[in-house]
């Protein structure tokens, strides 16, 4: 089912949470709404679900205007951040709930066989008799997904689906959700504040800030070509160095970087930790190492430039560097944005 949002607006009391968002989600696509807290991503998801009504604009499911259809008739599956499993029902009863209350009557054996199919799909065979309090967080998350899928939704919506889980469980579930998505091909929209989760999982990432879309595209597009300093910073660690822009190049220390399309004057240079090299001799930006952090895959160096800017970058594990050492920073690549 294709979803189309047109200039959707939502205001709570005096706070405008969503300021005119237009978005198209193709049938079968897996899309992430990514943004910091307060960016309106959850509100957008809830409006698509029908858990909130839009104050302005329209939401279409396929050719149908769904803007005023209440949640119970909208045909969406919603997975809540904290799962919202019914604590007094067993896992099987939780999954069967939607089928039991549905206007479409199913007989008992049809419900039972569908429940066991879903339990198999989410790999929870044999746990149907447990209560939610008796299973782990990751298992609860999978029950919530099975329950949402039980009513054959046209659209699957997930609110911070892995937010409350350990890093390891999260990684497994991510891969697994991707598998289920390619198996079922259901249009899926999920909300996250974790850029790694969005980039790993989604076909397309929609980045939000203050209730508006700032950029959208495939993970490759948004990572390789961030259009603003906000997106650059939000997608991962970034070092910021003040620079002077002149005729499409940015100059700092003894270095210059390509800065096509940036107006002359003051600019800011953004470089990922892996884009920075450290050498004993110039040319480069003079800096002093303040700390070295050892990690499994390399050494993270914290340094301060002559202008007082804090930098973080990585050197190879064998490299001998010490706090207090002076040297020069060079840039393999960097993005320049006007201030």
């Amino acid at each position: 089912m294709k979803i189309h949002l047109e200039n959707v607006v939502k205001t709570f009391e005096s706070f405008q949470a969503v300021k005119g968002v237009s978005l198209d989600i193709e049938s079968g696509e897996l899309v992430a709404l990514l943004g910091p807290s307060g960016s309106g991503k959850t509100t957008i998801l809830r409006m698509v679900a029908g858990l909130e009504y839009a104050d302005g604009g329209a939401i279409h499911f396929g050719d149908q205007d769904a803007t005023d259809i209440p949640v119970r008739d909208r045909g969406v599956g919603f997975v809540f951040q904290h799962y919202a499993l019914f604590p007094h029902m067993t896992v099987a009863d939780n999954i069967a709930f939607g089928m039991k209350v549905s206007k479409v009557k199913r007989d008992r054996s049809a419900i039972e066989s569908r429940v066991s199919d879903l339990l198999r799909l989410v790999r929870l065979e044999g746990l149907g008799d447990r209560f939610p309090a008796q299973i782990s967080g990751g298992q609860r998350q999978r029950v919530a997904l099975a329950r949402a899928l039980s009513v054959d939704p046209k659209v699957l919506l997930l609110d911070e689906p892995f937010g409350a889980l350990d890093a390891n469980v999260r990684r497994d579930l991510r891969r697994w959700l991707r598998e289920i998505h390619s198996e079922l091909g259901i249009t899926t929209l999920f909300v996250t504040h974790d850029q790694e989760e969005a980039l790993d999982l989604a076909d397309r990432v929609v980045i939000l800030k203050d209730g508006q879309i700032v950029q959208q595209g495939t993970p490759e597009e948004v990572c390789r070509d961030p259009k603003s300093a906000f997106v650059m910073k939000f997608l991962g660690d970034a070092n910021v160095i003040a620079a002077q822009v002149r005729d499409g190049r940015a100059y700092v220390g003894g270095l210059s970087v390509e800065a096509a399309g940036v107006a002359d004057g003051r600019g800011e240079l953004y470089a990922r930790p892996s884009d920075i090299d450290w050498s004993d001799e110039g040319p480069g930006i003079a800096a002093t190492i303040s700390r070295v952090l050892d990690r499994a895959d390399g050494r993270r160096v914290l340094a301060t430039t002559g202008a007082g800017e804090a930098l973080e970058f990585d050197v190879e594990p064998e490299r001998v560097v010490k706090a207090g050492e002076q040297g020069f920073v060079t840039l393999r690549r960097a993005k320049v944005f006007a201030v």
Binding site: A49, G50, L51, P70, V71, R72, D73, R74, V76, G77, F78, F80, Q81, H82, A84, L85, F86, P87, H88, M89, F97, G98, V101, S102, K103, R130, F131, P132, A133, Q134, R147, A148, S150, V151
Partner: protein, 274 residues
């Protein structure tokens, strides 16, 4: 190796509380049982099964059941309104719920009698419909309703407040109607609190005295409650008979609490980790 407890003061606090419970709760009850037991079995049975006693149990228990049933619905509705809706005066309603706790029950009894007597505001209207409240079992029920209302409201309210709104949203997104959601999601989650409220309310109704004696008319065999019969025996210095009848009330309350505890444990099975 000696086991060490992280929380300090266990022996002292345990000693003080056990001593207190023994002194204030167990000792009087033991005295009561002892007094009742000093009657022979035959005398005991004669007193507790006399027709006047039996009539008093009947009116007390039936009125208490009626009042508790009424409060179950009305108290739930009241708790629902207070927690779910925001309206002007909500805090006042919330505070008024506790009035039956704060008011001396005799004052409540006198006020209710004045309202429901034949010449009172409510009584004169109801008399037009041929309904007599004062000096009938209905009056007893109303007095019981009044004094036991807060129990159900106050036990259900916190549970209702803590109910995760996402549960209802989830049920909605799965296609449940409002009534289905109330019946299958909200009510089962409130059940333990409702049971607790019902048992407290019922126990309070069984023992209520002050609010009832003014409105009940206190006719032996029809509107005489058990607590009053105990009081009458005490006034006659018949302590043994008073203790015998009181022991019946005590056993009834005990049984009631045991049954509700069992029901509650059953209703809360799902919280047990395993």
């Amino acid at each position: 190796m000696r086991r060490r407890n992280v929380l300090p003061g266990l022996p002292l606090s345990l000693g003080v509380t056990l001593f207190y419970v023994g002194l204030i709760v167990v000792l009087p009850l033991a005295a009561l049982a002892f007094k009742a037991a000093s009657l022979g079995f035959e005398d005991y049975w004669r007193i507790v099964s006399s027709s006047r006693s039996m009539a008093s149990y009947r009116v007390t228990v039936l009125s208490a059941l009626g009042a508790t049933t009424f409060n179950l619905f009305f108290g739930l509705a009241l708790a629902w309104v207070i927690t779910r809706y925001r309206f002007p005066g909500r805090r006042i309603v919330d505070a008024v719920v506790d009035l039956p706790f704060a008011l001396p029950t005799a004052v409540a009894g006198i006020a209710l009698t004045a309202l429901f007597a034949n010449s009172g505001w409510f009584g004169s209207v109801l008399e037009g419909f041929g309904i007599k409240v004062a000096y009938t079992p209905i009056g007893i029920m109303i007095a019981m309703c009044f004094t036991s209302l807060p129990f159900i409201v106050r036990t259900v309210q916190p549970v209702l407040e803590d109910l995760d709104p996402a549960l209802e949203e989830a049920a909605q997104s799965l296609g449940g109607s409002d009534w289905t959601i109330f019946r299958k999601v909200i009510l089962p989650l409130l059940a333990p609190a409702l049971l607790a409220g019902v048992s407290l309310s019922f126990a309070r109704c069984l023992g209520e005295f002050g609010a009832i004696i003014f409105i009940a008319g206190n006719q032996p065999m029809s509107t005489e409650i058990t607590a009053l019969l105990i009081f009458i025996r005490l006034e006659e210095y018949d302590y043994q008979a008073a203790a015998a009848i009181a022991s019946v009330l005590l056993l009834a309350a005990f049984f009631m609490l045991a049954v509700t505890n069992w029901l509650q444990a059953r209703a809360l099975r799902y919280t047990v980790k395993g």
